[in-house]
Symmetry: C2
Subunit: 585 residues, 2 copies
């Protein structure tokens, strides 16, 4: 061992001991008679002291050490004259008597400090240096700790972690599959799993009863700012359970994580239906750390001669507390915000509830003070509040108002990353209409069971949109961190579902044949859930981006700029794989 | 929840309780007045009792249940009249009052019993049924348990589990890489990792200090009987350590597993050098559960006019205890065994040490009784033993004799799967000569450090074969379950190593450039080890094959016969990926 102790563990109780430390030179201070070096490792920082008077050679040697040199230093632990109360080792230093340079280092391209001067691109290119920084390292430590907590919690509940294959069957509709040519089977391909969905259902058919896996998944799609081509799920499945059992089990897991990581206790998580979530928040993943719930205003807003309201399917608003003093400029900015193509509203109506009890609105022409008072009353606004109102087709308008609600919360500092508001969203629609292809798609996936009381609607195509699924999401702070459903375990119902989704028997067999076969040999009722682990970690870490909770992430083009992947491969290798690359015209 | 209890937990203390169970029909016995059904789930079997007299309808219903039907049964726990002491629930049964068929089942294609009548192919095609069998399920339970033990043990030693990428850089020499075309980067490919070797070394450069990962790895090579294209490693790396630290750490892990899983205690594992292992056992993964060590016989075997011995580089034998009575037929079979192409010996010399003190050999023409006595004495043979002797070029002969030693141990029942003999093999050669390409290759990998005292030999090409590496394997029962090395952390030495291996600077940069770059920014001394987790599980499970310790394995052609992967993909998908499949001529 190159060391007797780490750089994070020595304190006043070790004074007098002779120790050897090893680590990186964080910084060096030359005070003439003395040279001090902060030696860093994963566990902390310890100060090394070199005295020009007692050992000039060694002190000179120390002065030549550059940032990030790797050194080994031996000496005696002594009490510091000038103590640093900010770090656990701050009361001591090492009076160095022996110094070995284990490795030199070029000057790093950015500072290895909590706040680095490195931009994103530079940090990613030199990710191995970026990972030396405390905040990034702490993210990975948190991730490790959360994975251990999850595994031990589920294992104690008799869940078995079972590894499912990474080289799986490619399916005809798997447009987002990464594929892998097989050398031994020329012209044939494996796919990388988008999730172990079918395998975990097979494990239930296999009687494994309770399965989980912290597992890598893959999706070859255009990457939004915070998606990765490979990501990690906490994937779970249980047999002989109903929705309530699943919710209780994984709410228990979430509470365990909150308690262990954040020392937070929660009562039962609130549950709202998908329809209620859309009505109250315009989102199936509402951020409920704050209020500003939607108030529907059709009864008080219509019939006053304001055409936009009168002709709209829905008039709906939020009450922004204490914002009546917003300036013209601020209000214009909000209008611009909702008119951005990403939001897509036609405009914004505001009503200021002035301190003196009067109202000022952008539609004063159509609404009397009493009219506005009625609106304010309906919205339970207080003097000093600002009402923000949108109108249009119901669902579209709700989604637009959701964006505005989140924007206002951001401006008001209500999206506190240290506050946590979990909830369940239940009763998702089973099917989702797609205007473009003019057909219904499964909102979750084709194995999701309809609510038994809605099953009969499968025979009424005009009611398909009304069918509710036994599907649920767990949402924390406006982020969907997990979701799942009761699965269909009855083959007849599954076939009906496939037909509803427009699959021919052949297509269904080609895509899901072996799972359907398995279901004929005694499939138990089962259900499951998967958490997005990268996202869960970033949420617990109080960060917006998942990237810094992944050791070696890829950028928005799916590139690892550090290693330079992906990259062309040799012709000989293509030859062996019996494939060739087509040049784009 | 579909049940109040599992099928494995009710016993005499529950008598009188009303319970609901759910599971699979294992078997059904119709005794006229009574029908009994064994209901099975992952946790056990509970007997359901139906009485024709008290509830004829229900009893009739029960009689119609087929094997593997999924049912839910409610009733009262009663004491059995005829108890079964072999199972924990054997003292009770359920007097069923309510029965629900949750799912019907077709008759399975093989019996779901401990000893199934299904052949390998059938079991693999219906793996989800095979997994219902106790022995297979227990293997996966063992695997889960071992993974938990490993993770908790290493985590308690401050190892962090850090996920490394699965989509990595393809390297020019990565002939065994699986590759993955990138849709977003046409003409470019990722590779799937054969191991996270470079990433774990980067994590050491990143200061992570102690890393582990239970991680999937991939190798696109022709599969021997017991290889899989995807396999799982316990991958580990540590900084600021010497070989002794690594050996102690992972010997600790192995002992922990032996204690927890097998309740076995071990003293320090024996250590032998690679050269000693080859000399004493003809293998770098010796099975030391039994003796029959090699005895070199040049001094007593040569000079008696037997040309094969006289002209051989090495005459070497083993003493098979108590085998002097082997028949002519048995001895011929042993000769045939060593002459098989897989072993490749020219012939076999035997010496029987008869009970009366006389000797009988296949070379009596050349050896007197005294000559044979001298050989027997050298081999410390006792009356009743059989000496088996091979000769030829030293290393080749040793490897042949190793095969014979293992075969004899098999015949003598000395390879007891319930006995465990771990050891370390150390001081592997750094380089391995390849006759075909007439050059040296790295025996482990190009990052393995030579022993410091042998480093100078890198400047003497004629001595390259003598350079010993700081590399070590952990071997249990003749199986290499893990291996690793001290890594080179000095760039100059690494460059010298690349040149020794015949890499040009350009080739080295293309293949390992980003790792080499990283090493210039302060790489700590580091070392690591990886266990083959599939193999480790099968060893602890007392089985020879890894296949039944993998939930969904592939066959020798890399095929999953259950799902039918790999398979052709749609032209549209090939188009999107900018690749085409070449027809083989």
């Amino acid at each position: 061992m190159y060391r007797t102790n780490t750089c994070g563990e020595l304190n006043i109780s070790n004074v007098g001991q002779t120790v050897t430390l090893a680590g990186w030179v964080q910084r060096s201070r030359d005070l003439g008679g003395m040279t001090f070096i902060d030696l860093r490792d994963r566990y902390g920082i310890t100060q090394l002291a070199f005295n020009m008077e007692t050992n000039a050679d060694l002190c000179q040697q120390a002065r030549r050490l550059g940032r990030e040199f790797v050194v080994q230093a031996s000496g005696k632990v002594i009490e510091r004259s000038s103590k640093n109360s900010k770090i656990p080792t701050g009361e001591i230093e090492i009076e160095v008597t022996e110094l070995v340079v284990l490795n030199a280092a070029k000057t790093p391209p950015f500072t290895i400090e909590d706040l680095s001067d490195g931009g994103d691109d530079l940090r990613m290119k030199y990710r191995y240096l970026d990972l030396r920084r405390n905040p990034v390292r702490r993210n990975l430590e948190l991730r490790h700790r959360m994975a251990m907590l999850v595994r031990n919690y589920l294992s104690n509940l008799d869940f078995l972690e079972i590894e499912t294959p990474m080289l799986i069957k490619s399916t005809p509709e798997g447009a987002r599959d990464f594929v892998v040519p097989s050398r031994m089977n020329p012209g044939e391909f494996y796919a990388l799993p988008q999730s172990p969905q079918q395998y975990k259902q097979l494990l239930m058919v296999a009687g494994m009863d309770r399965y989980f896996q912290i597992v890598r998944c893959f999706r070859d799609e255009d990457l939004r700012a915070d998606r990765q081509p490979e990501f990690t799920q906490i994937d779970c499945e249980m047999s002989f359970v109903e929705q309530e059992d699943v919710l209780q089990t994984f709410e228990g897991l979430a509470k365990h994580l909150f308690k262990e990581v954040k020392n937070l206790d929660f009562e039962q998580f609130p549950r709202i239906t998908w329809h209620e979530a859309m009505r109250r928040f315009g989102s199936d993943k509402p951020d409920v750390r704050f209020g500003m719930e939607f108030v529907e205003l059709n009864d008080v807003a219509k019939g006053h001669g304001f055409g936009l309201f009168d002709n709209a399917e829905l008039v709906v608003g939020i009450c922004a507390p204490g914002c009546a003093e917003y300036t013209r400029k601020q209000l214009d900015a909000l209008t611009d915000f909702v008119k951005r193509p990403q939001v897509g509203a036609g405009g914004l109506v505001y009503v200021k509830c002035n301190a003196d009890g009067s109202f000022k609105s952008s539609v004063d022409k159509f609404f009397s003070q009493d009219d506005l008072k009625a609106i304010a009353a309906k919205m339970e606004a207080k003097a000093g509040d600002l009402l923000l109102i949108l109108c249009g087709p119901a669902m579209k308008t709700r989604v637009q108002l959701c964006a505005l609600r989140l924007e206002m919360a951001q401006q008001l500092g209500l999206r506190d990353p240290n506050k946590f508001a979990p909830l369940w969203v239940v009763d998702f629609p089973l099917l989702e209409w797609d205007d473009e292809t003019q057909r219904y798609y499964a909102m979750h996936h084709p194995f999701t069971a309809p609510k038994p009381e809605d099953e009969a609607l499968l025979d009424q195509p005009d009611r398909w949109g009304d069918i509710r699924a036994n599907a649920y999401d767990i949402v924390i702070n406006g982020v969907e961190v997990g979701g799942g459903s009761i699965r269909i375990h009855d083959r007849t119902l599954q076939n009906k579902m496939f037909h509803t989704l427009g699959f021919s028997d052949e297509q269904a067999a080609a895509q899901f044949g072996f799972l359907m076969d398995a279901f004929t040999y005694g499939a138990p009722p089962h259900a499951g859930l998967a958490f997005g682990f990268d996202r869960l970690c970033s949420l617990f870490g109080g960060a917006d981006s998942i990237r810094d909770f992944i050791a070696f992430p890829k950028n928005n083009s799916g590139r690892d700029v550090m290693s330079g992947s992906p990259s062309p491969i040799a012709d000989a290798q293509l030859e062996e794989l019996c494939i060739s690359v087509k040049k784009n015209s």
